[in-house]
């Protein structure tokens, strides 16, 4: 079930270093939001604060508010483990568990949540997830082969299947295509389009064409100077950002003048 995300005055720290400052944004359900910006501007760090992965870095912390359907995930009574199990994440490099089969990879999240499930139900769920990830036809004959034995693009779709198998509220993608060839990238982008009606998707990308192709809304992150915190410069519909941005920095970036 897709959910709505409301970020308010979010400051993100690595120890004493302020990496991202004062981000506020609203992310609509059943939409794709792209985060773009030059390297080191904090867009990945911001993404990882949406499912509390950021704080796994020693001494990393966050100030501010991230509310998912109105509930602050940084509230004092919220268990970060629960937050992460409700929000799916796909990483820059495909990372299926190499010690598990394709089937086991997809079922990994279910097993973690201790959901009691009959074998046949689990089979169905694995098939449904792999179908949703456009991978079923390619792997249905080798479900019990190692998850690391398929191509990079297939591995990334396997990771997406693993993430959506637990029916997350939100799907976060951290440059999911940067390690893939153009054809695999195309497959992932098609998949993002297919998933949009059911999920809230936030994708970080270095590729501006990709942001333009897949997203409804685009946020541009930038940092004033090296050592300064990254900030959300501008956020609007993707059409607007790529045709008539309000800020000069945004225009400079999307026209390739820097970054």
């Amino acid at each position: 079930m897709a959910k709505h995300i409301q970020v308010k005055d979010l400051d993100i720290y690595y120890d004493e270093f302020l990496a991202v400052q004062g981000v506020s944004m609203t992310i609509e359900p059943r939409s794709v939001t792209a985060l773009i910006g030059p390297s080191g501007c904090g867009k990945s760090t911001f993404l990882r604060s949406l499912n509390r992965m950021h704080e796994l870095v020693p001494k990393a912390r966050v100030e501010g508010q991230v509310a998912i359907n109105g509930r602050d995930i940084y509230g004092s009574n919220v268990d970060p483990v629960d937050v992460r199990s409700e929000i799916g994440m796909v990483f820059q490099r495909p990372n299926p568990f190499p010690t598990m089969s394709i089937y086991e990879n997809v079922a990994a999240g279910i097993r973690l949540n201790n959901v009691r499930m009959k074998r046949s139900e689990l089979d169905d769920l694995v098939e449904r997830s792999l179908r949703s990830a456009n991978l079923w036809n390619e792997v249905k004959d080798r479900l019990h082969r190692p998850g690391g034995g398929i191509s990079g693009g297939q591995q990334q779709r396997l990771c997406i299947a693993r993430a959506i198998a637990v029916d997350p509220a939100v799907l976060l993608m951290d440059e999911p295509c940067s390690a893939l060839d153009p054809i695999s990238t195309q497959a992932i982008e098609d998949l993002i389009n297919d998933l949009k009606p059911d999920y809230t998707i936030v994708i970080v990308t270095h590729n501006m064409q990709q942001a333009a192709r897949v997203s409804d809304t685009t946020g541009f992150f930038n940092l004033a100077d090296v050592g300064q915190p990254g900030q959300l410069i501008e956020m609007d519909t993707t059409a607007k950002i790529f045709s008539a941005p309000r800020e000069q920095a945004t225009e400079d970036y999307i026209t390739g003048r820097f970054g």
């Binding site: 990483f91 490099r93 010690t99």
Partner: protein, 314 residues
């Protein structure tokens, strides 16, 4: 000059002198291992042969080689397997603590300490076992016999000196702990961060992440390290010779004074006073030890290879 203009050079790559020398050296080193192994096996077979073919009553003990070696083999396996059962889980836990739970400064110190433990000579462990551990176990052994005496391992009666199989097992466990820990820790350090993050992002707690991403990845290293440890425990001579008070019986009773010896300790004790067929008999027991360690290693390799596709090495 582009390569395409020198087809002969492409068709027959010329080995340079350095390549040839190094290839020869490394091939030689590889072959040397085979020769040494074959040499040891041949020596054991030839020297053990007279004992194997001798009439049973001429062999020490008077009942043939097989019955001479059997209690020793039993003692060897008993002490080594129990030592491994204690040391392996402990080593994995220590390795997990050092790589995932300990603060960095402490982890580094602990790492050095573990490596240092591996370098302590076995005679030191033996002396420690004899003078400190053995007397210290007498009390607890009495408790074990009183309360857990229904388990054959703790049946008693308790040895008054404490120089029991239990102490030998504990000393062996301490001795093989560092090597297992060091190898397993190294494997855990190689676990890609990506796999840890994959587990955490699915909502795994620290412990679930370790079970999901780290332990399966370290599986073959855990098996390999355990076999290294088992090999060391099987062949350990000095520590067992010093600690164990031997009576020669075949029993699983770990805390009584009726202990079987081990092959290595028996050779060390008997060899200086043996002549003729007795020496051949000892060498025959050595041959058995050699065969056992060989079989253990082969078995471990088979287990590892059977799931090599899922090892994470690809």
């Amino acid at each position: 000059m582009p390569l395409s203009e020198t087809p002969s050079a492409v068709a027959r790559p010329r080995l340079r002198a350095g390549d040839r020398v190094f290839a020869g050296l490394s091939t030689g080193a590889g072959l040397l291992i085979l020769f040494v192994l074959a040499g040891v096996a041949a020596f054991l077979l030839v020297e053990a042969w007279p004992a194997l073919t001798a009439p049973p009553e001429e062999v020490p003990g008077g009942r043939g080689v097989a019955l001479y070696v059997w209690p020793l083999l039993f003692g060897t396996a008993l002490s080594a397997v129990f030592a491994l059962l204690i040391a392996a889980p402990l080593a994995v836990t220590i390795a997990l603590f050092v790589t995932y739970y300990a603060p960095r400064a402490l982890a580094q110190g602990l790492g050095y300490l573990i490596d240092l433990l591996a370098a302590v000579p076995s005679i030191i462990y033996g002396l420690w076992g004899f003078t400190v551990l053995a007397p210290a176990t007498v009390g607890p052994s009495g408790w074990l016999a009183d309360n857990l005496g229904f388990i054959p391992l703790f049946a008693g009666p308790v040895s008054a000196t404490g120089r029991t199989m239990l102490v030998a097992i504990l000393v062996l466990a301490v001795m093989i702990l560092p090597i297992i820990t060091a190898v397993v820790r190294e494997a855990f350090r190689q676990v890609p961060r990506l796999h840890e993050e994959a587990a955490r992002a699915l909502g795994a707690t620290q412990w679930e992440m370790l079970r999901m991403a780290v332990l399966p990845f370290g599986r073959s290293a855990i098996i390999g390290a355990s076999m290294l440890g088992l090999g060391r425990a099987l062949g350990e001579t000095m520590a067992v010779t010093i600690v164990l008070s031997v009576s020669g019986g075949v029993t699983v009773n770990l805390i009584s004074s009726g202990n079987p010896s081990t092959i290595a300790a028996d050779i060390a004790l008997q060899f200086p006073e043996s002549t003729g067929l007795a020496v051949n008999t000892l060498i025959a027991s050595g041959l058995v030890l050699f065969a056992v360690t060989f079989a253990v290693n082969m078995a471990a390799r088979t287990v590892i290879n059977r799931r090599s596709e899922f090892s994470g090495a690809n």
